[in-house]
């Protein structure tokens, strides 16, 4: 008997206290080599009794936290790093004695908790911390990622070692605002900068390009910085006590000699409820691209999972007309209707098929919204498979996917709904076709230690960072060598920079040590974390402030800061009534066309018991303008599909007159890119019918897509003026 499963969001119960987090302020500086992010969380007690705020929030995977300050009024104090047990005791002592304390700890990969105890009535506390990351290029893209929200996850937080106090909580009433300023400096100013997730305000100063975003903490903030030019290696040197740490970032270019090696590829795709809406559409696009790229020496399988796991083929199948047809069918049927997120079970199914003498790679497409324990990662490491993940959605679980890919020598790509999925799939295939390389870094003098210690998997166009520690300041040439089984040798060289950060315990040294100790759990690594002031699984930041009247301060009430519901969570489906209405209004010029389209989708849209989030009010009357009817009646799902296809055929299917479509096709035939024509046309359409555009999601799509056109592409508008006018005259 067929079982249909789905995940639902269910509203739960009451209380009425003000949320103590009143603002988040982010300032980033992105230079040639590093990105530095400073975050300030503002806590305010708007009650008349003292409270304890607990806020669990996301940060990028392996972000090296470099400082921790607490500001109350004019007083600024710096926190210290202590081992967890001592930090917790210090915090408890303070709170019980009527003093105030702030503690920051790592809860899980990419997840941190701030506890602020005894915020006095009416008091405002600002807590700031910052982190640095090396700029990692993937091909021509530098992707700056700032998470703002933890999405609801499937499963038991206790599995990931998270207790109830620190487990993230999501509320529909949460409204956490983020104010963000990003300064792009040095050579990066020359490159193309855009955001696929937010609208940016730009301001050029002498030193930098400043970008401003004011938004809610309800989805990831992404900045794309693109440069077609060749990646130049860079290096930095920083003091480490009586010695020096050096870091070198190299982006290997293996040229065009990438030979395809026979392999088995399991496409593992998340079909749980959280993938509903944009994410499952992204997954569909991803698999379409993957199927296009499979070569004849590949065997493949498609493994869908939710609460259960479904394999397409019993064993990986050879690429053939038949297997492709079956795959195509799965692609059409595939939906976010398989229930919970049994990621572990799905991967186990994949690991358990022994590939014998072939390489076995896994392409995992998921939003990662599940709690996993150590056994999960251990199983991945032991499997011998490389996991290339594609993280989708607006609030992807970056930590889980990066860790999974890192321990299996794979790689993770992340794609928000407006980013280019095809590009990422192509890059994953380039990576998968790399033979296994032995690599080594050769420093100009002997090092006390190097990191990574063992063979680092190198991928074409992906920046790798290498560290080493020396007793004296190193100088000279650093060489990265790689050779594959068949002995072809690759080599890249760079000369070490002469400048250095002479602070006795430089930020670079701290970042290097964090890399070295982050996978370890022993006493020595805990001691190192304390002396280098690093937050790890074993150490927390803590600060205590004494209160004058501490004897008269009672134990604080608990106020947990909830997460916002991420954009697109549970798919922003239209309510059943809206679908019905639209179907009935299928009269007039475009009626039959878009009713038919809605008819295909509406079967899947109506789900039992799902909390409906209506993005826009349904079109109240049949608008006079037939164009506005198409676009205003589109639900979010169909809009995404339309923009994914980006072509004139899609517009025609929606109801654009054939003669109008032909005019657009002629423009394409005369040499303009179809995607550009598509976007320019929609932009013009929107300008002419601004008041008919109720649907903000459609408006956003058009504005964003238009914004991402290059200057020369935008100029093409002038040359197609006449043709566009013709089209509008037609109706």
């Amino acid at each position: 008997m067929k079982q249909n499963n789905c995940e639902c969001a269910i509203l739960a119960d009451l209380n009425d206290n003000p949320v103590p987090l009143t603002g988040i302020d982010v300032k980033c500086v992105i230079g040639d080599i590093l990105s530095k992010v400073a975050i300030t969380q503002i806590y305010e007690n708007r009650e008349d009794r003292n409270i304890e705020a607990v806020y669990t929030f996301p940060l990028p995977y392996k972000a090296a936290l470099l400082d921790f300050t607490v500001t109350v009024g004019n007083e600024v104090r710096h926190g210290t790093v202590m081992k967890k047990k001592q930090a917790r005791e210090t915090y408890e002592d303070a709170v019980e004695q009527g003093n105030s304390a702030a503690m920051l700890e790592k809860t899980d990969e990419g997840m941190y908790s701030m506890s602020v105890g005894n915020i006095l009535a009416g008091q405002k506390i600002e807590i700031s911390f910052s982190y640095s990351q090396f700029n990692i290029w993937n091909g021509s893209l530098l992707r700056f990622y700032l998470p703002t929200v933890i999405a609801p996850k499937y499963g038991d937080p206790a599995r990931a070692g998270i207790d109830e106090l620190h487990a993230p909580v999501t509320s529909v009433f949460a409204e956490n605002t983020v104010n963000c300023k990003i300064s792009i400096t040095e050579n990066l100013r020359k490159y193309e900068v855009s955001s696929p997730t937010h609208q940016l305000e730009r301001s050029e100063t002498g030193d930098s390009l400043d970008l401003f975003v004011k938004t809610f903490a309800d989805r990831d903030f992404i900045l794309e910085i693109r440069s077609g030019s060749e990646r130049v290696p860079y290096s930095c040197i920083g003091r480490d006590g009586d010695g020096y740490v050096a870091a070198v970032a190299m982006t290997p270019d293996f040229g065009k000699e990438i030979r395809s090696v026979p392999r088995d590829i399991d496409i593992v795709v998340d079909c749980s409820g959280s993938m509903s809406g944009e994410s499952i559409e992204q997954a569909r696009t991803a698999i379409e691209r993957i199927l296009e790229k499979l070569t004849e020496d590949c065997r493949f399988n498609i493994i869908r999972f939710g609460s259960s796991v479904k394999k397409l083929f019993r064993v990986p199948a050879k690429v053939s007309a038949q297997s492709m047809e079956k795959a195509g069918k799965v692609l059409l049927e595939m939906d976010a209707d398989m229930g919970g997120t049994n990621l572990e079970g799905a991967l186990d199914v994949s690991y358990n098929y022994p590939s014998k003498d072939r390489l076995h790679d896994i392409l995992l497409i998921t939003d990662g919204e599940v709690y996993e324990d150590n056994a999960f990662y251990e199983a991945a490491e032991k499997s011998g498979c490389r996991i290339f993940s594609v993280g989708v959605g607006n609030a992807v679980s970056e930590g889980l996917l990066r860790k999974l890919s890192a321990i299996t020598s794979g790689m993770a790509e992340f794609v928000t709904p407006n980013e280019n999925m095809a590009e990422r799939i192509v890059r994953h295939f380039q990576r998968m076709s790399m033979p296994v390389m032995n690599s080594e870094i050769i420093w100009p003098v002997e090092a006390d230690w190097v990191w990574p210690e063992k063979n680092q998997m190198l991928y074409h166009g992906d920046t790798g960072v290498f560290f080493a520690r020396f007793s004296e300041k190193p100088a000279g040439c650093v060489e990265l060598k790689a050779h594959s089984g068949d002995e072809s040798v690759y080599s890249w060289k760079t000369v070490l920079t002469t400048s250095s950060d002479e602070t006795p315990c430089s930020d670079l040294a701290r970042m290097a040590i964090l890399e070295r100790i982050s996978e370890r759990n022993d006493d020595e690594s805990a001691d190192l974390a304390v002396s280098y002031r690093l937050i790890t699984d074993l150490t927390n930041y803590i600060l205590v402030r004494e209160n004058h009247d501490s004897d008269n301060i009672a134990l604080p009430e608990l106020r947990t800061v909830p997460q916002m519901v991420p954009q697109g969570f549970s798919g922003a489906l239209c309510c059943a009534e809206t679908v019905e209405y639209s179907r009935n209004s299928g009269t007039g010029f475009f009626g039959s066309a878009f009713s038919k389209m809605l008819g295909i989708d509406s079967r899947k849209q109506v789900r039992k018991g799902v909390v409906c989030q209506c993005d826009s009010a349904p079109a109240a009357e049949t608008a006079n303008n037939p164009f506005s009817l198409i676009l205003a009646a589109l639900d979010q799902r169909a809009v995404k599909r339309l923009f994914a296809d980006k072509c004139i055929d899609a517009l025609e299917k929606l109801g654009l007159k054939s003669s109008a479509a032909d005019i657009l096709r002629l423009i394409v035939k005369n040499g303009t890119d179809e995607r550009v024509v598509f976007i320019l046309f929609l932009n013009r359409l929107m300008q002419r019918n601004a008041d008919a555009f109720d649907s903000t999601s459609v408006r956003e799509y058009i504005v964003r897509s238009y914004g991402r056109l290059s200057a020369s592409e935008k100029k093409l508008e002038d040359s197609v003026q006449d043709e566009f006018e013709q089209i509008f005259q037609l109706n």
Binding site: Q3, E7, E96, E164, S171, G340
Partner: protein, 141 residues
Amino acid sequence: MKEEKHFTLDELSALTALPRRTIRFYMQTGLVPRPVGANRGAYYLTEHLDRLLEIRKWQSAGISLKRIRELLIAADPSADIPENIRQQGEVIVKSHVFLRPGVELVIDPAEARMTNEEILNAVRKVLHAINETKGEQNETE
């Protein structure tokens, strides 16, 4: 009059092997009553110790805090234990498993403390039982 034994939070923590933060969390969420007295002079009684030991006993049997809360309320309805600590508008992820028209199984794995395998087995068994009740053949998986 019997002299009540007084405990500090430290002593409660040592006697129950529960961290102080955890005990404070239970008090903040109403599972354990607040201390007697206020501020620096606050102290705890045997009833606090007993309640903590009870909670710990159930936890080690694998029962979730939410369920423990219900058990405590049932055992002593006059005790001032709030029924729910969930916030207004909280969003929870559950699995709605469609079994047959009109029959659905709702599972919150966090609350149920079930692994994926356990959930799958439970679903199979429930489906089996319903099919049997209806006198229908059960498909072999």
